[in-house]
């Protein structure tokens, strides 16, 4: 099942494996609003309305549950289906589309009522305030913590939950998760799915039958998604819906199963593992919050889970602090925990842009990133940059974010004048991947090392060089400072060896720090060696072992043809070089593979160890029959039959008792801007989606609201094989510019007729933010869908373009708004209501007049679209 991804187009070389599977008999289904290169080679293409995937997947869940097509043995043993919820929990079924705990005034959920029943209740991550250290958080403080979201903190495991809740393995207790799930999804009938998603009932039935027939003991089904799922106000819940389905069908932790996120940048997985993200530290440790994480003890108390490997948060955190502050970090000073800055809410890139516009954020670094065309509501991004004191752009060439002050669209409209823009801009040329050592982490969590082929020329330097030498200069300038606030930067360990005429820091030495060492400086080989007493240092606990025995493991390149199909000796995957996560679930509770055909790892009773084709993602010598005592905690509390070792209860979560800002179960809500009312619930939108209201970020009316007919179509953004994201690495190359020479929009012949659009002519696409022009591609690949009895036309917009480069064009991101998923603060660019009209857009101030005329016609005010 490929859904929310055009894998053949965007990950073509990875797609060879899908074709190989198809050649061996696999059925390939592609669910997508557009008929694409992936659809062309799939067995079945399912055209769906953009923004309706939860309804579609919820329908499959309902089919599996009501037709007894789930994998019962797996569900009972490995998921929380049997877990009983408290009487306080109320579902969207009971409350008209919201869950219990909803605070409409503050647009936040109190998650207390979603918890498991039984014994003492452990609160969710970031919400514990131990009475022994301080008073409980006030309601206002708690809201600040919740607004941070910190969803990425669950990038390698679930939130805190009761480790040993009450259960009913017959799955009949009315408050057990299984029964709650059944009731919750009962309304996702094939008829409703057809009405909401536009997928004909017969096509939907085919998908249900294929997916369930190809799951179970002998067969597995895999899901593939990309940003077609994440870039929504309910993006995380899209993936949650797939996770529920895959857990019900027994497809997690097994070969040929899983839910694969295809990531679009060479090391975007690595950029999350070792984050440059506001809400996490390396290894998914949450960034401290000003409330509830006041000191190391409160942090550990709040962020530690009683059972599983997140019970060792103290070991991971102290080892990180040691790698940051070395000898200065001691037990007496809480290992310099106080040197860490604190959050007080969401500080994502979108809040930052508003802070730039407001004049609060003065300096900005761009490392190979082009927000002037690459971020949602591109105009707002440029206005933020035009209001800085200084901007540093590190890139290969003069991207739009480097030249907005000179030739940006606002110069033409008269909104900005070059001489009025006070931003000081430094353009620093960057080194290419061929000009530096380092590791990328690919979409399967695999680190691969690339080696320096040649030195960069001129002023071009690696970002490693830039970060290291900038830090060195700042430290030199601040040396001798008596200011207490300068201690964290002066006490920082910053002594990397440099080599060559450019004084390039050794990337391998940085990897050594990431991997970690013991008190003798010997490299660690596993995160299980990490200590809480300060005797180990480790820059990213999940990467511990990447340089085991002092060997650069990501640089391993034993040819694939000389290995088994898992190819464990090529590169290195976190954690502990395990290639399929939670693979203990590929064996039954007794440790035997569910079937020989699907064997991956199993218990070797003679050797008393787990073994198999992959490295077992389990405690190597824990017998399947092991059951922890009542008082057991941490790793000792993991039962021999609990495969989900990063989860607080060892189970796959059908119901998420903690960790999600917008509900324990997925719900179909309409996108921020939709031509349709929500046919499934009274609640139109995700009630806790993040709204960033600004005069430059107006929202449109939706559903039955007055004025929504002004924007009757739905636009969705996407990529092409020949270009890369916002185009900084493709629009400037002759080969790629020639292969895809112009920005275009894809429309159906029906829409072309309705709006008078001519193939190869021009069209203008308008939202409440901006208007852009594109060449028209009239194609039957765009199919009108029937939703709620009406025909809906969708518009496809590749988002690679901008004004600079060998192929120039308007940026699709001009149209997008900032309404974000509340868990991970990601923008909704995959379903935008819009209008389309023939001809080019106006030039100069007339462009602003056009957008204003649409706002007027739709009756848009500061309040429009901001309701909970």
């Amino acid at each position: 099942m490929i859904q929310g991804s055009n894998m053949a187009e965007c990950h073509p070389v990875g797609f060879q494996w899908v074709m190989e599977a198809k050649a061996r008999g696999a059925t390939v289904i592609h669910v997508d609003p557009r008929f694409t290169r992936t659809s062309a080679v799939a067995d079945l293409h399912v055209p769906i309305r953009a923004g309706a995937d939860i309804a579609f997947l919820g329908g499959i869940i309902n089919y599996a549950l009501s037709n007894e097509k789930y994998f019962r043995d797996y569900v009972v043993a490995y998921t929380n289906a049997a877990t009983i919820l408290t009487e306080d929990y109320a579902d969207t079924e009971d409350l008209g589309g919201v869950f219990s705990g909803f605070d409409r005034e503050h647009r936040l959920y109190d998650m207390e009522s979603w918890r498991y029943q039984g014994g003492a209740v452990r609160p969710a991550v970031g919400e514990r305030s131990p009475a022994e250290t301080r008073a409980p958080l006030t309601a206002a403080e708690m809201r600040k913590v919740r607004r941070s979201g910190r969803g990425e903190a669950h990038g390698s495991g679930g939130a805190a939950a009761h480790p040993d809740p009450d259960t009913d393995e017959t799955l009949t207790h009315p408050r057990c998760v299984f029964q709650v799930l059944k009731r919750h999804f009962a309304r996702y009938t094939p008829e409703q799915v057809a009405e909401v998603t536009g997928v004909p009932a017969e096509t939907f039935r085919q998908v249900c039958e294929q997916v369930t027939a190809n799951s179970g003991r002998d067969r597995t089904t895999a899901f593939v998604y990309s940003v077609g799922w994440t870039q929504h106000t309910v993006g995380v819940q899209y993936i949650r819906t797939a996770a529920i389905l895959q857990a019900l069908l027994g497809n997690m932790g097994r070969p040929g199963g899983g839910i694969m996120a295809l990531r679009g940048h060479a090391s975007i997985q690595g950029s999350t593992d070792i984050p440059t993200l506001f809400d996490i530290l390396p290894g998914y440790l949450p960034m401290p919050h000003a409330h509830g994480n006041e000191d190391l003890e409160t942090y550990i108390a709040a962020e530690t889970v009683a059972k599983g490997f997140w019970a060792n948060t103290r070991e991971y955190m102290v080892s990180l602090l040691k790698s940051y502050w070395g000898d200065a970090a001691t037990a007496e000073n809480d290992f310099c925990y106080d040197y860490l800055p604190r959050l007080t809410g969401s500080h994502s890139t979108y809040e930052t842009v508003l802070a730039q516009v407001a004049g609060e954020c003065k300096g900005y670094f761009l490392f190979g990133q082009n927000p002037a065309v690459g971020s949602a509501n591109a105009k707002l991004q440029r206005l933020g940059m035009a209001n800085l004191d200084w901007l540093v752009v590190r890139d290969f060439t003069l991207i739009e974010s480097a030249t907005f002050w000179q030739d940006g669209p606002e110069i033409e409209t008269g909104e900005l004048r070059t001489a009025d823009i006070g931003t000081e801009v430094f353009f620093l040329p960057a080194a290419a991947h061929t000009e530096k050592d380092g590791s990328f982490t690919n979409t399967q969590r695999m680190l691969q090392w690339h080696h320096t082929a040649v030195e960069p020329s001129g002023d071009a330097r690696s970002d490693l060089w830039f970060a290291y030498h900038l830090g060195r200069r700042i430290r030199a300038k601040l040396a001798g400072s008596g200011d207490e606030t300068d201690r964290p930067i002066l006490d920082l360990t910053w002594d990397y060896p440099v080599a060559g005429p450019l004084a390039e820091p050794a990337a391998d030495a940085v990897l050594a720090e990431i991997n970690g060492w013991d008190s003798d400086g010997k490299p660690l080989s596993s995160y299980t060696q990490l200590a809480a007493d300060g005797s180990t240092a480790c820059g990213c606990w999940i990467y511990c072992g990447a340089r085991a025995d002092g060997v650069n493991q990501p640089a391993r390149r034993k040819p694939g043809r000389e290995q088994n199909w898992v190819a464990n000796e090529w590169g290195w995957a976190w954690p502990a070089n395990r290639r399929i996560l939670y693979n203990r679930a590929s064996a039954d509770p007794d440790g035997k593979p569910w079937s020989e055909r699907k064997a991956l790892v199993w218990w070797d009773a003679d050797k008393k160890r787990w073994t198999g084709h992959d490295n077992p993602d389990f405690i190597a010598d824990r017998e399947p029959s092991y059951r922890p005592g009542k008082d057991a905690t941490g790793v000792a509390a993991i039962s021999g039959a609990d495969p989900f070792i990063m989860q607080a209860d060892g189970k796959a979560w059908l119901f998420a008792p903690a960790g999600l800002a917008d509900g324990p179960l997925p719900v179909h809500y309409e996108p921020q801007e939709s031509p349709f009312p929500n046919l499934l619930y009274d609640q139109q939108h995700n009630p806790v989606r993040e709204i960033l209201a600004s005069p430059r970020n107006r929202y449109q009316p939706s559903g039955g609201q007055r004025g929504s007919a002004v924007f009757p179509y739905v636009a969705t953004t996407y990529r092409l094989t020949e270009h890369h994201t916002a185009g900084g690495m493709s629009r400037f190359l002759p080969y790629l510019a020639e292969l895809q020479p112009a920005f275009f929009c894809e429309v159906s012949p029906e829409l072309a007729a309705e709006r008078g659009l001519e193939h190869a002519g021009w069209a203008t696409i308008v939202t409440a933010r901006n208007a852009i022009e594109a060449r028209v591609l009239v194609t039957e690949r765009m199919r009108p869908v029937r939703v709620a009895g009406q025909v809906l036309h969708q518009v496809g917009l590749p988002y690679h373009w901008g004004p600079n480069g060998l192929t120039a064009g308007d940026a699709a991101n001009e149209l997008a708004h900032l309404s974000l998923d509340p868990n991970v603060h990601i923008q909704e660019v995959k379903a935008l209501a819009c209008d389309i009209r023939p001809g080019r857009r106006p030039r100069g101030p007339a462009l602003l007049d056009l957008v204003r005329s649409y706002q007027r016609r739709a009756g848009i005010t500061a309040k429009t679209g901001t309701e909970a």
Partner: protein
């Protein structure tokens, strides 16, 4: 050149006499073509690398001659990609060696109407000064009575095509400076 050689050098003759009836291969090959060798064969060294575009992580062989990258090919050893590259990966020679690449620092002063040259050392020194000043200006020791020890004066965006080691140093440096608005493409 003998008559026989002359006749046998004629593509149409070779087309009819050999295995290449349609004249799309050996029959159409000229002597010049036959004498060509791929630049990969004469490279001084082959350096192992990874494609910098999407996250599939295709293996690349980087060919270097005379201190210059002369070709980038897919690495047949890779169990991920088995030697293949897509159009973007195949264009990475142009990405890394093409004329679009800038090699000099450029500076635009406040309210300036054009770029000016600036040497790298001066640029680094100016940036360090600005970081220190913006950090101070945006410093928040406390917010609403709670300790924050942070600066809201500096932000950063980027990192999804950077190396893990680069991201590690960026996060470490900015965190020690107290900056929290440190983000990358993964948010987007």
């Amino acid at each position: 050149m003998g008559v026989r050689t002359w006749i046998e050098g004629w593509p149409v003759y070779r087309q009819f006499s050999g295995d290449d009836g349609l004249g799309r291969g050996a029959a159409a090959k000229s002597r010049v073509t036959a004498g060509l060798a791929p630049r990969t064969r004469t490279a001084d060294k082959v350096v192992k690398s990874v494609c910098p575009y999407c996250a599939v992580g295709c293996g690349q062989n980087v060919y270097v001659s005379g201190g210059e990258v002369t070709q980038i090919e897919g690495d047949p050893d890779s169990p991920v990609s088995r030697g293949r590259l897509c159009p973007k990966g195949s264009a990475s020679l142009q990405l890394t060696t093409g004329p679009q690449r800038r090699h000099r620092v450029l500076y635009r002063r406040p309210h300036g109407t054009g770029w000016e040259p600036l040497d790298l050392d001066t640029a680094m020194d100016m940036i360090a000064d600005r970081v220190i000043a913006a950090r101070r200006q945006g410093w928040q020791d406390e917010v609403d009575g709670a300790l924050t020890r942070r600066t809201m004066g500096i932000a950063s965006l980027g990192g999804a095509t950077l190396d893990n080691e680069e991201n590690y140093l960026i996060k470490k440096l900015f965190t020690a400076l107290g900056a929290i608005q440190i983000e990358n493409q993964a948010r987007i």
